[in-house]
């Protein structure tokens, strides 16, 4: 029971770490925005600065309360887990490093929440001191603090990395809010220009410190693709690349176009930047749940092992197998070659017939799902060409996914298994699957209406891209175990690219809806391609 407690708290800790990093970044970005970017100067005039400042302070207070709440919950969860599993009292927990650091972050965040008010004119420098204290304490709960070698330099590098991340990614929501609130073009232009200069410096610091940390924590090319840590860092770097690309577009727009031409596009691009930026931070939280790759001396997967798992192979799409229940007689479900050739896991352990049947069933489910997603993407691409009106009905394939979930999610229950529909209706797992199928049908109907009746200006049209992006972010935010590190990594190698593609699909669809009509061309092509690639990835998904 106690051991299970640590497992459950493990995942919760990743979520809390993610929340902490997001709010901490908002705090850093917000303080800099209030103290420097949105501060009126003689050059910019007075403009709408007072309004932008007041609302920025409000958002800053929300971020501070969010960070304090995350820290309080983190302290409670970590202390409870430690007290329960190590059988020690609260008095013993209080002296632990994490408790001291977490308490400092908590108190600093609360103080920011109190001081961040337009009525406290002299509070500015205190805000800066408090967020610096909060960041310093927060860094003491990441990898750098526990290293045996190079601890001091890694702590400094981590501090700079998180500081630059906060200034840039954490400042983006404040910039977006500033652009939305200010009706005055010179004010918009001024804060955007200032933010752009800051972003440029921040990107440089993030890249340099990121490379420095990678050299210390990953250490070799093989560890970059052969460990979960290396793969997640690569995923983070790829998404950072997408973010830098968007930032680069903004930068070029600011340099080359007039304010009236830039601002309508810029706001939409910043919206996508905020979304992808938060996903990068969530991925960073996932990275912190793993031991650095450099420490996994005997658990790095080789290039040959990776290739043998990801090399293109014909998918399992047998209709007969699809209609069978694997639990009644697992051997019946196995492909003929598995009976003659012994199958083993990555570490050479022979797989039992039941385990093998489970794997085959899982692969079959993934492959059929992949086929449906691939078709969705292909039809969306076809519709985009404007030469096949009927392809606009691609959301109907979501109904196919719903049917698939109902039929295949539980092969012991209706319609494949012996247990009836009503008997399994209140079982949480089956209820969850059926609700998920209903959500799919809902999406199908709604997305079809968006396409056929041109509801793209309706706010609800943004639900589908948001769900795609959220799904991708969830795939990139999970904790990791050490019971079978190599299998974990191989599973990750298939899931992480799909997570990244889902995030890109979501935000490119978002941009297609939100950008001015003449700028929608490129994003309108990106998301269907992402769907095709996700489908192809699922079709090639394998567990052995």
């Amino acid at each position: 029971m106690m051991l299970k407690l640590v497992d459950v708290f493990g995942y919760l800790s990743v979520i809390l770490r993610a929340g902490t990093l997001v709010f901490q970044s908002l705090l850093l970005g917000g303080v800099l925005f209030v103290l420097w970017i949105a501060r009126p100067t003689a050059e910019a005039g007075t403009g709408d600065f007072a309004k932008v400042q007041a609302y920025s302070l409000r958002l800053l207070r929300i971020a501070a309360v969010g960070l304090a709440a995350m820290q309080a919950f983190y302290l409670y969860v970590n202390s409870a887990a430690l007290m329960a599993t190590a059988e020690i009292g609260l008095r013993d927990v209080v002296g632990a490093n994490f408790f001291i650091s977490g308490s400092i972050v908590f108190i600093s965040a609360l103080a920011v929440a109190v001081l961040a008010s337009p009525h406290r004119k002299a509070a500015g420098r205190w805000l800066a001191v408090l967020v610096a204290v909060a960041l310093s304490a927060s860094v003491m709960t990441n990898h750098a603090a526990s290293r045996m070698e190079g601890r001091a330099s890694l702590v400094i590098v981590s501090f700079l990395h998180e500081l630059a991340t906060g200034f840039w990614i954490g400042g983006l929501p404040f910039l977006l809010m500033g652009l939305h609130l200010s009706r005055d073009r010179p004010t918009q232009w001024y804060i955007t220009k200032r933010f752009s200069r800051l972003a440029l410096v921040s990107v440089g610091v993030i890249v340099i410190t990121g490379v420095g940390m990678s050299l210390s924590y990953i250490g070799s090319w093989q560890a970059l693709y052969g460990t979960a840590y290396g793969v997640m860092v690569s995923a983070k770097a790829l998404m950072l690349g997408a973010l830098i690309a968007l930032g680069g577009i903004n930068f070029l727009l600011l340099r080359n176009c007039a304010p009236d031409a830039v601002m309508p596009r810029l706001r939409r691009l910043v919206e996508a930047e905020v979304g992808i930026g938060i996903t990068v931070i969530l991925t960073a939280a996932s990275v912190t749940s793993q031991p650095p790759a450099v420490d996994l001396v005997n658990d790095t997967v080789t290039a040959q092992q990776v290739w043998s798992r990801i090399k293109p192979t014909w998918p399992r799409l047998g209709i007969t197998a699809l209609a069978q229940s694997s639990t009644a007689s697992p051997e019946r479900f196995l492909p003929p070659d598995s009976m003659t050739t012994p199958q083993t896991s990555i570490d050479g352990t022979p797989l039992s017939a039941a385990k093998l049947a489970d794997i085959v069933e899982s692969e079959l489910n993934h492959h059929w799902m992949g086929l449906l997603v691939l078709l969705m993407g292909a039809l969306a691409l076809l519709a985009r060409t404007g030469k096949a009106k009927w392809a606009e009905y691609w959301p109907l394939l979501l109904i196919g996914i719903a049917v698939f979930i109902i039929v295949r999610a539980d092969t012991e229950a209706w319609p494949l298994g012996p247990q009836g529909f009503w008997a399994t209706c209140l079982r949480p797992e089956d209820l969850q699957h059926r609700l998920a199928a209903l959500v799919c049908i809902g999406f199908a109907v709604f997305e079809l209406r968006v396409r056929r009746r041109k509801l793209e200006n309706h706010p609800a049209a943004l639900v589908f891209p948001l769900m795609c992006a959220l799904g991708g972010a969830l795939l990139l935010t999970h904790s990791h175990n050490l019971t079978n590190v190599k299998e974990e990594l191989l599973a990750e190698l298939s899931h992480v690219p799909m997570g990244i593609l889902a995030v890109l699909a979501g935000w490119s669809r978002w941009l297609e809806i939100r950008l001015p009509a003449k700028d929608r061309g490129i994003p309108a092509w990106i998301w269907p391609v992402c769907f095709v690639l996700i489908g192809a990835g699922l079709l090639n998904y394998r567990e052995i």
Binding site: L3, V6, D7, F9, G10, Y11, S13, N78, A81, L82, T85, A86, E87, I88, D92, G95, A96, N97, F98, S101, G102, M140, T141, N142, H143, A144, A145, S146, R147, M148, S289, Q290, P291, P292, D295, S362, N365, M369, V373, I401, I405, A436, V439, C440, G471, G472, L474, L475, H478, S479, H480, N481, L482, E488, A491, E492, H495, A502, I534, E543
Partner: protein, 111 residues
């Protein structure tokens, strides 16, 4: 939806940070009793005051081992006395300096 299905494949979650780099007794080794010295080296600094070692004997009985004062931030040491021949499992749980809790096992035989 797709995410939920994919995440189901990653359902074995755990908190994993500290790795046991080296141990005495080593994994699947044989040592002489009845006095067995325990020595564990991790990849990170661990908080000895908030870490625990348990020894599970051949009959399933579990005893908590007292930890000696740390000689290095990455090392835990203990001494098990009165150990009879048989298969044993050393269960460790450590609190890393960064606040992560990790745990693991070392199986060995006393001859």
């Amino acid at each position: 939806m797709l995410t939920l299905l994919l995440l189901a494949g990653l359902s074995q979650v755990a908190w994993a940070h500290a790795i046991l780099m080296e141990s005495k007794p080593a994994l699947h080794s044989s040592v002489k009793g009845p006095e067995v010295a325990i020595w564990l080296r991790f990849n990170v600094r661990v908080d000895g005051g908030r870490s625990r070692l348990h020894l599970v004997g051949p009959n399933g009985a579990q005893q908590t081992l007292p930890l000696a004062k740390q000689t290095s931030p990455d090392i835990l040491e203990s001494q098990a006395g009165g150990i009879k021949p048989g298969a044993y499992t050393l269960q460790w749980q450590v609190l890393a300096s960064d606040g992560h809790i990790s745990r693991g096992e070392v199986a060995f035989t006393v001859i």
